[in-house]
């Protein structure tokens, strides 16, 4: 039977989960393009971080720590398994349920985003979705700000034909 301290801790964890887990799953999803994998990564990150909650330098920054851990786990995942081709195949096999031309273009853009190398994709997601500075993105990706600028430039260049297509419509 859990004591009051355990119940209090569980409530604290539930609160942390409610506040931050969804954002972490979204970030992981945008980086990986795979909802199941994104949940696994976000949950792994939550377990790791919550497991050493007492030792965090700034527990109030749990969300930032969680995002950082998600990025690190995603990087490890791609390093270990080199699943980019598999993920691309999986994305390509997803049913194109939206038939309207605009939606079809967005699906194409999404597929193209998933097809580019993961460091470029992660840089784009962290810069545009999370609205992080280039310096902060560099910290999260473990590289220099100049490298982030290069990743963003090259990543956007690869996506530009799709985006231009949308603008031309």
């Amino acid at each position: 039977m859990p004591g009051p301290r355990d119940r209090g801790r569980a409530r604290g964890l539930e609160e942390l989960y409610r506040s931050h887990a969804q954002d972490a799953v979204r970030l992981a999803y945008l980086i990986t393009g795979d909802h199941g994998l994104a949940e696994d990564l976000a949950h792994d990150a939550f377990v790791r971080l919550a497991g050493r909650l007492a030792h965090l330098r700034d527990p109030d920054a749990f969300g930032a720590y969680l995002n950082r851990t998600v990025v690190n786990l995603a990087r490890s995942h791609y390093r270990r398994q080199k699943v980019q081709r598999t993920a691309l195949g999986r994305v390509a096999m997803e049913p194109q349920s939206m038939t309207a031309p605009d939606h079809a273009r967005r699906e194409e853009l999404w597929t193209a985003l998933q097809a580019i190398d993961w460091p470029k994709r992660a840089a784009i997601v962290l810069r545009l979705y999370e609205d992080l500075s280039e310096r902060r993105v560099a910290e999260l990706l473990g590289c220099r700000p100049g490298t982030v600028r290069s990743l963003l430039s090259r990543g956007l260049a690869e996506l530009r034909p799709m985006i231009r297509g949308e603008e031309d419509e």
Partner: protein, 249 residues
Amino acid sequence: MSNENDELRRLLRERADRLPTQPELPPALLGRVRRRMARNAVAVVAVVGLLMVGAVSGVRAFAPKHHLTPVGQPTPTAAAHRHNSPSPTPSPSPSPSSSPSSQVSSCPGGQLRATAELTGAAGSVVGALDVTNFGSTTCTLQGRAKIALSDWQDQPLQVQHVPVPPTWEAEGASPPPGWPVVTLRPGAVAQIRVAWSNLCPQNNHPALWRVTIGGQTIDVFGADGTSPPPCNGASQPSTLQVGPFEPQR
């Protein structure tokens, strides 16, 4: 450019918003967190214990780092010891263990952890890889580990391995007891001295180090704070000097 960014930003938000919400902490996840907390607590106790053990032999831990010979200038006795063949007559077991090495088996990779203590020096990255026995049984290491290097994107780096003599020999000291067998009690540490030179083209991202021991490859932690060595000659190979296992000094 701004329109492009806005378009992508909209796409990313739209995709993120499509995900189903999961506001409640799954019970299984709560269980995992609790187990993790318990494991971390045990790890803290273990680390404190190791620190206490380390304090007993602390003088060794604070011994000055050894110096490595620059590439192409082997020590006079290097050639004689490159074979690193076992001594025909077993001698007393080495520090950090007093167990007779003949009674214990070689360390499986699964019970070892490797950490790096590297610094940039005179155009090279020099230091040591510390291999710790995290198992509950005493085991032995002997000979040279296979070390592989990859860049930050995990692409293998081509390096030429150059065997070098152990630190004690480079310093003209007498061999440690039990040499060349290093006996590791639980928590004890063996060392491999390394020196890496000339990586071309120049690359400032820390490399990934992996070491293969007993048929198992393990990641080396702690090397991510050191940049690779500078490019000193594109026509020359990148070289990695690797010493044999030796007791931690």
